[in-house]
């Protein structure tokens, strides 16, 4: 599945450069995303990995400008197919959302309005963005459900009447409703059990092959990410510590944090290897900018003197 897209090098769909996001608290300011840069090419699946709280969701929300106070974008630029998203006014932004970039949120239960039928929630997309009449929008909504193999009769159901997997598929169907160029998926399967997870991921991969959109795929599940994405980045404390081709990253992780993350998921078969994680109390502070160690493999240098692997500081 991880074939490099056939025509990789027209202009990238998304270019993020030096993006910084800060949360302004009462007593302190926290920089949740710190001078992060990356690009996603057309049809490419770009994975963003890291533990909870490392800033990956904040980065994703920043791309659609969905952040609310106290989170503020304090620097950098986000270009979507050449347009600077940060300079758009409210109306331009509204037109761009969902048509160009759509998003699948972590929990489908919470991202669907509990008091509207799923049909009405899909119809909303078509009536707003394409000016369709209600009945035409309804027909399109039915097609959309069929695309993710859900009985169109379900249009009249409320979210709580669907199973978790079905809800997530509805959300995915909504995300591809307008054939966006980029799909942001923020831990799309975390809330689901493993079997359903597999089905959903297969469905996403299939849709991606069919429709050819690019994906920003966020998860803390390294094995899933390596399986699915073309290129990936590892994020720690708001900084990127390593970006590379997904396979290279798996085969040859350079940054100690990446190594720890990959080791957190031991192989299912083969000899039992002792887990080597980060030692207790190991922190990386002042992570430097990435340096290209091999073509396409960028790593943040680890300052001399950082104690890793079981050391206690």
């Amino acid at each position: 599945m991880s074939t490099i897209p056939s025509s990789p090098d027209d202009a990238p769909v998304l270019e993020v450069s030096d993006l910084s996001v800060e949360y302004h608290g009462e007593y302190r300011t926290v920089r949740a995303v710190d001078r992060v840069s990356f690009q996603i090419g057309r049809g490419e699946i770009f994975g963003l990995a890291g533990e909870s709280g490392c800033g990956k969701s904040t980065a994703a929300n920043a791309i659609m400008r969905l952040l609310r106070p106290p989170a503020v974008i304090t620097g950098g630029s986000i270009r979507f197919r050449g347009r600077d998203i940060l300079t758009l006014d409210a109306e331009e932004l509204r037109a761009l959302r969902w048509r160009e970039v759509a998003m699948v949120f972590q929990s489908a239960m919470n991202s669907l309005n509990p008091v509207m039928t799923v049909g009405d929630q899909i119809v909303d997309i078509f009536t707003t963005h394409e000016g369709l009449s209600k009945s035409k929008a309804r027909a399109r909504a039915a097609e959309l459900l069929e695309l993710v193999r859900i009985d169109p009769a379900r249009l009249r159901s409320y979210p709580h009447q669907l199973s978790g997997g079905m809800r997530q598929r509805v959300v995915i169907a909504m995300a591809v409703a307008l054939r966006p160029h980029l799909l942001i998926m923020d831990e799309p399967t975390t809330a689901l059990d493993v079997v359903v997870q597999q089905e959903i991921m297969a469905q996403i991969a299939e849709l991606q092959r069919e429709l050819g959109f690019s994906v920003l795929f966020i998860t803390h599940d390294m094995s899933l990410m390596i399986e699915l994405s073309h290129r990936m980045a590892v994020m720690y404390a708001g900084r990127f510590v390593e970006t590379a081709d997904a396979k290279t990253m798996f085969a040859d992780p350079r940054h100690p944090y990446t190594r720890a993350l990959i080791n957190a998921f031991p192989p299912l078969s083969g000899p039992v290897a002792p887990l080597v994680g980060l030692g207790e109390g190991v922190r990386f502070t002042d992570i430097p900018d990435l340096r290209e160690e091999q073509p396409g493999h960028w790593v943040a240098p680890v300052p001399v003197g950082t104690v890793i692997d079981g050391g206690r500081s």
């Binding site: 949360y23 302004h24 608290g25 009462e26 007593y27 302190r28 300011t29 926290v30 920089r31 949740a32 710190d34 533990e51 909870s52 709280g53 490392c54 800033g55 969701s57 904040t58 929300n61 609310r68 106070p69 106290p70 989170a71 503020v72 972590q106 720690y236 404390a237 708001g238 922190r283 502070t285």
Partner: protein, 337 residues
């Protein structure tokens, strides 16, 4: 009640979504200590809170006046000291009633009964509410069901008509007023306290205490109660506001002991003597303003408690989305009773 309980939702003013700031990876300012250590005692933080401090100063003034009334205005305030219906003058700063009593003296003496009844009712109603709420949450099951049923029934029966009926059947007097107000006022506290106690009941340390075989009373009062101090305080203040307002209402309707001097009876007499129609506004303005000021001061303290104990309500440092304190609905329902 119905699926969503407003009292539970409204205290919760959520702000930002997703991505929590804490955890090992929040990089900046991790080792910089917050300006206010979190555990510093409610009292201390309250004095530092501008709203709470203002409220406490106003309240203290009224309490001082109530205590010092015999010194500030010696003698029986109901004595007729001058001509009736005199406007404010140097001799009678607040004027005189239609009968010729000094309004200032009546207002100062009125503070005694009004504050006393208000606080007694507030404490009693909160105490009953606390007992009911705690045992409801702790024992759960059938006990919870029946206690919640009783609470909800009491919340539903219209309070003021019930007050009137009870006051009509009981002999008049301050004890009656206190009993009646406590009887009709506890249910609101019970509901709020139960939902709070219920969430603490679900915490691991309570489970641990049960496993180690602590007695029920110990767990309720030593494990659960200390963790809901702020909500108890908010409920208490809300109940005091209710007590003061409802007492005034009852007495205004002539259902209290009209021979006792209180803000409510002052208003009752003002209305009875036709202060409105004859234009002697000074006879009814001071007592009403006093009730309002005390209620407002208490409400201010309540917002202070809310802000100090619920950091989400505080405004952000840069004053970006300058968020106003969001008073809990519990307080509001009480005010509006």
């Amino acid at each position: 009640m119905s699926a969503t309980d407003p009292a539970e939702v409204q205290l919760l003013v959520a702000t930002d979504h997703r991505e929590i700031l804490s955890g090992p990876t929040a990089p900046a300012a991790l080792d910089r200590p917050p300006r206010h250590p979190v555990r510093q005692g409610l009292g201390h933080s309250l004095v530092a809170n501008r709203k709470a401090l203002t409220g406490m100063i106003i309240l203290a003034l009224f309490v001082a006046v109530a205590l010092l009334a015999p010194v500030l205005a010696p003698g029986n305030p109901s004595t007729i000291t001058s001509l009736g219906a005199q406007p404010p003058s140097a001799e009678h700063l607040f004027g005189t009633t239609a009968k010729g009593q000094d309004v200032l003296a009546l207002t100062m003496w009125g503070a005694r009964s009004s504050l006393l009844v208000g606080f007694v009712v507030g404490i009693a109603a909160t105490f009953i509410g606390l007992l009911v709420g705690l045992s409801s949450a702790y024992f759960g099951g059938r006990a919870d069901n029946s206690l919640s049923l009783v609470t909800n029934v009491f919340l539903l029966i219209p309070g003021l008509p019930l007050l009137v009926i009870l006051a009509a059947f009981l002999p008049t007097g301050m004890t009656t007023v206190i009993l009646v107000l406590t009887f009709t006022g506890w249910a609101g506290s019970a509901r709020v306290l139960r939902s709070q106690a219920l969430s603490i009941r679900g915490k691991d340390f309570v489970a641990a205490a049960i496993v180690t075989g602590e007695r029920a009373g110990w767990i309720m009062f030593r494990e659960i109660l200390p963790n809901m101090a702020s909500i108890v305080m908010i409920t208490l203040i809300g109940s005091v506001i209710f007590g003061i307002g409802a007492q005034a209402g009852l007495e205004f309707l002539g259902l209290g002991d009209v021979s006792v001097v209180s803000w409510g009876t002052n208003l009752y007499w003002a209305s009875n003597d036709g202060a409105l129609m004859s234009g002697t506004w000074w006879a009814f303005v001071p007592s009403g303003a006093a009730i309002a000021l005390v209620a407002f001061a208490l409400a201010l303290i309540n917002y202070g408690v809310d802000e100090v104990t619920n950091p989400r309500l505080r405004s952000t440092r840069r004053g970006r989305a300058s968020r106003r304190a969001a008073p809990g609905s519990a307080t509001h329902q009480e005010v509006n009773r």
